[in-house]
């Protein structure tokens, strides 16, 4: 089982070079049943990562390109009159897939964004008064450009909070980029990727994540972290209980990826920036471009032991 996980991350690493940490976080996010938000400049490999994840995990896959004129119906599906049956027939939208890639989610209007985000939270969609369940498992990997880019509708805090993690890929290392330029990786190899996991395996792994031991000491550490965000005058607001639950789940998944049956503080520290930085905002930062530095301060200032 564990080898399967290693194989999966290795396979993705072959497509996305030099991003082991981000890839591992993305896998941990899926193991912890969380939705993933990837934020970075255009052309940094966001879509590549999400596609590679979908293929390796062996999930059915749909991609929605978000644009400013995208309508909720384009995501959820619409009812169309069928002449043969003499009634309306529901044509499911692209959201009815196990893994949905919402590309450039912040280019769509808030109305369309919320259609997706409701589905993420509820695991079902309601169209024309009929509630239809979404497949199980159901993941959303959303990508977005930084809010400072033109033509974007920033996701509000309430919707950011629904993503377990927010990742940023960053520029590749010169060595990785050289390999990329020499050819032989990237999109071209994406097609060669074979599913490493079956759906059953993935579900078994996901079911095993809550079994990872989180001792009282580690719970106390998470509490210290969360309390600090709520009491510090640096943070405009603190982490929600959803945030602390997510932090624990992600740390468990990370421990599993480390082939350990229990969580240690280093696991929490590894996932903390990805889990909390989009949920925090510095008091002195009204625009709210994220709490990356706050996460770093939490790591440095909250006693780990």
């Amino acid at each position: 089982m564990k080898d399967v996980l290693s194989n999966a991350t290795d396979a993705i690493n072959q497509v996305l070079l030099g991003k082991q940490h981000a890839v591992k976080l993305a896998v941990a996010c899926i193991l912890a049943r969380g939705h993933l938000l990837i934020e970075d400049l255009p052309g940094m490999g966001k879509t590549t990562l999400s596609q590679a994840l979908a293929r390796v995990m062996g999930l059915s896959y749909q991609r929605i390109q978000f644009t400013s004129d995208l309508l909720p119906g384009d995501i959820l599906g619409t009812s169309v009159f069928d002449r043969d049956s003499g009634g309306f027939v529901f044509h499911p939208g692209p959201i009815f897939a196990e893994l949905v890639l919402a590309d450039e989610i912040n280019r769509a209007t808030p109305k369309s964004q919320s259609a997706l985000l409701e589905a993420m939270e509820e695991g079902q969609v309601t169209v024309d008064g009929a509630t239809r369940p979404l497949p199980e498992p159901f993941f959303v990997i959303a990508t977005q450009n930084p809010a400072s880019q033109g033509g974007t509708f920033a996701l509000p805090e309430s919707q950011l909070d629904r993503f377990l993690m927010r990742l940023s890929l960053g520029y590749p290392t010169p060595a990785a980029e050289k390999t990329l330029l020499l050819g032989g990786t990237g999109r071209a190899r994406l097609d060669d990727l074979k599913p490493v996991l079956t759906r059953a395996q993935l579900q078994a792994l996901q079911a095993a994540v809550p079994q990872v031991t989180a001792s009282e000491a580690i719970i106390d550490y998470i509490l210290r972290l969360v309390t600090r965000t709520r009491e510090s005058h640096l943070c405009a607001w603190g982490l929600s209980p959803r945030g602390s639950l997510g932090l624990l789940a992600a740390a468990r998944a990370w421990a599993m990826l480390e082939h350990r049956a229990y969580v240690i503080p280093e696991d929490v520290q590894a996932v903390l920036p990805a889990v909390v930085s989009h949920r925090l905002r510095a008091s002195e930062d009204p625009a709210g471009h994220g709490g990356g530095s706050l996460a770093q301060r939490l790591l440095n200032e909250v006693p780990a032991v």
């Binding site: 031991t213 989180a214 001792s215 009282e216 000491a217 580690i218 719970i219 005058h233 049956a261 229990y262 969580v263 240690i264 503080p265 280093e266 520290q269 939490l298 790591l299 440095n300 200032e301 909250v302 006693p303 780990a304 032991v305």
Partner: protein, 676 residues
């Protein structure tokens, strides 16, 4: 390094705030240009901070010093003495802004601020100032805290909070010192600030002076009685006697105030009371007839008046007891006193003299004559008013026979004149009459408008007898006070529309005024009046001794009682955690601290282990064993599960401690502290 340690912006804001607050109580006493000077200094300092203006050079500073000193000299007329010294201190406090370069200078400014806060109490010791100075202390301490905050991470609210906590922590010590610290006499004599004119009795009495006093709603003194307060008509507060008359003004005579107390026969029940009088810069204190006291600061003069040995530079509180029916000097008057108390200016007031001679003819007995004269005041159409007709050269004649309008000073002066002219030794007694009873504190409140003058005549066998012609004319003045006596005329406190005493008829306002006065009274009595005398009294009552040695021991004991728990709390050993793995963890870290090795705050055990393994490669195996066991115990146990035994961990710890070096290996010192 120090040359870069400039005063950061937020510190400057703190300093300026603290300065304003510390200066504020002084400013009303000082000319306006003082405030302007502060504004100028502050502006200059701000411009220095903004790098617009340079620091003033040596010459400018010397010039400023000379100008400021000259200014103080021009305002105060001297450079010596309390007022001038305090003013100079304030000026230099402001100028210090201009040579404030380093944080050390800022500290000097703050410490000076504390001094200036204390200096304000030289001029005023009231409750409002005391409260304001508490606030000043808070701001100054907060400024001290603020100076220590890192630039860019200043938080005024937090500095205030920390300052408040510090001050609150100092309160118990303050209370202990207040109660127990010996009240030492001043090391050198400081004259009380003198430039403030205070209303009060003067050494001489011209009618206009008394009228002036009657317009003042200021407090003259307060008196608390041991038992019930005597009736209003009995409250004749003697301050001094006036025996010399120059035709217009009655004044004190050196002869009557000779310090030798003449013989007198105490009679009647003693009435005990405590008088609390504010600073007046005069030696007058106030007592009822037949007074005696054990207070060493007071003496009984030859005219049966209590008087302070020193002018009252600050508030005084003393205990006296009076036997009001006493016979004062009943046997005989010595020739000198007789002459003094019969003295009249040559040739003045012929009609009064004729009237006296006429009275003398019909009443050969002195006592009859006095009664007849009082009856004259009662019978004739005299009118009590604070707006008398101006009097000319023979003031007594004009008053007695023409205008017949006046107040106590006129009546007393005229009666004394007639008595003397008839050959009866007499003098004017000046003081206060009546007072307002404050039911809250059960004490009497005597205002300046209660100032009064009456007559004392010497009768053989009876001694000095007090008579009050005003009572014959306007009994309501004596029985109910000045306000009632003037109700028709409406001249009560007519020039002070804001004087609270004017509005006694408004219930809540009057209650508030009396409450406030009671508060001030308790403040005077218990806080300001807590001087050596009362301190000794306190010691005797609560500690059973007034012996300084024993008191010192007791204070030491009390102090220890406070400090010991605090010291124990501060020096308490680091709390022993309950779980064995935490204990082992702390043991190891304490041992590592001796090698200057310390886990970073946010460092997890695994990272710490990795770092240690780099620094101490020789102990790698033992480190790994300990940390593996530690992590297993701390993190591999589900919260609900039973705590596993820590024998392995303790074993690993012992092994590790045994192999750890005594000193830190040198080789790696430079590279290790870099964050990993």
């Amino acid at each position: 390094m120090t040359s870069y340690a400039l005063i950061p912006r937020n510190s400057l804001v703190w300093l300026l705030t603290a300065q304003v607050v510390a200066l504020a109580p002084h400013l009303p006493r000082l000319p306006v240009w003082v405030a302007a000077l502060w504004l100028g200094c502050a502006l200059w300092r701000v411009q220095i901070q903004r790098m617009r203006w340079p620091y003033p050079g040596f010459l400018v500073r010397v010039l400023a010093l000379v100008l400021v000193t000259t200014g103080v000299f021009l305002v105060q007329g001297t450079l010596i003495g309390l007022d001038a010294a305090v003013m100079l201190l304030l000026m230099l406090f402001m100028l210090k802004l201009l040579e404030m370069r380093k944080p050390r200078d800022a500290l000097v400014v703050i410490y000076l601020g504390f001094f200036i806060v204390a200096a304000a109490f030289l001029f005023d010791q009231g409750i409002p100032l005391a409260l304001f100075q508490c606030f000043s202390l808070l701001v100054l301490v907060a400024a001290l805290v603020g100076l220590q905050q890192t630039p860019g991470r200043n938080d005024p609210a937090r500095a205030m909070r920390t300052g408040g906590i510090l001050l609150m922590q100092a309160v118990p010590l303050m209370v202990v010192l207040f109660v127990l610290f010996p009240r030492l006499g001043p090391l050198w004599s400081v004259n009380a600030p003198g430039n403030q004119a205070r209303t009060g009795l003067a050494e001489s009495m011209a009618p206009a002076d008394v009228a002036e006093l009657a317009r003042s709603g200021e407090l003259a003194f307060r008196a608390a009685f041991d038992d019930a307060v005597p009736a209003q008509p009995q409250l004749y507060w003697r301050a001094m006697t006036l025996s010399r008359f120059d035709g217009r003004t009655w004044s004190r005579s050196r002869f009557t105030t000779a310090a030798a107390p003449p013989e007198w026969q105490p009679r009647g029940e003693p009435i005990g009371y405590r008088v609390i009088a504010p600073a007046s810069n005069q030696p007058w204190v106030f007592s009822l007839r037949g007074a005696s006291t054990e207070d060493e600061r007071l003496l009984l003069t030859g005219d049966f008046v209590l008087q302070a040995r020193q002018p009252l530079g600050r508030a005084i509180s003393y205990v006296a007891s009076s036997r009001m029916d006493s016979l004062l000097q009943p046997q005989e008057l010595d020739p000198l006193q007789e002459r003094v108390n019969l003295q009249l200016p040559e040739g003045s007031d012929p009609r009064s003299r004729a009237f006296a001679a006429q009275l003398r003819q019909s009443h050969p007995e002195d006592a009859d004559l006095v009664l007849a004269l009082l009856g004259h005041f009662n019978r004739e159409p005299f009118h009590y008013t604070l707006r008398p007709t101006p009097l000319g050269l023979h003031s007594n004649d004009e008053f007695l026979f023409d205008s017949r309008r006046g107040f106590c000073a006129h009546f007393a002066g005229a009666m004394t004149f007639v008595l003397r002219a008839a050959g009866i030794p007499a003098r004017v007694v000046a003081g206060y009459q009546g007072g307002e009873i404050n039911p809250r504190g059960n004490y009497v409140l005597v205002h300046q408008f209660d100032a009064h003058a009456w007559v004392e005549a010497w009768l053989p066998g009876q001694g000095w007898v007090s008579v009050d012609p005003t009572f014959q004319v306007a009994p309501e003045r004596i029985e109910r006070g000045l306000q009632d006596a003037l109700s028709e005329e409406g001249s009560f406190l007519e020039n002070s529309p804001l004087a609270a005493a004017r509005y006694r008829d408004i219930g809540w306002l009057n209650n508030t005024r009396l409450f406030w006065d009671d508060l001030n009274y308790q403040w005077q009595l218990r806080v300001l009046g807590y001087q050596s005398e009362r301190q000794l009294e306190f010691f005797r009552r609560w500690l059973g001794t007034a012996d300084w040695q024993r008191i010192g021991l007791i204070s030491l004991g009390v102090l220890l009682l406070f400090m010991l728990p605090m010291a124990l709390w501060i020096l308490r050993p680091a709390r022993q955690p309950r779980d064995p793995q935490q204990r082992a963890w702390q043991t190891l870290n304490r041992r590592l601290a001796r090698l200057q090795l310390q886990a970073k705050t946010g460092e997890g055990p695994r990272h710490w282990q990795q770092r240690l393994e780099q620094i101490l490669p020789g102990q790698k195996a033992e480190l790994a064993a300990f940390f593996a066991e530690y992590i297993r115990l701390s993190y591999a146990t589900a919260p609900a599960a039973a705590t596993p035994a820590a024998t392995q961990l303790n074993l690993a710890l012992r092994n590790l401690l045994r192999v750890l070096p005594r000193t830190r290996p040198r080789r790696s010192i430079t590279s290790l502290d870099l964050p990993g």
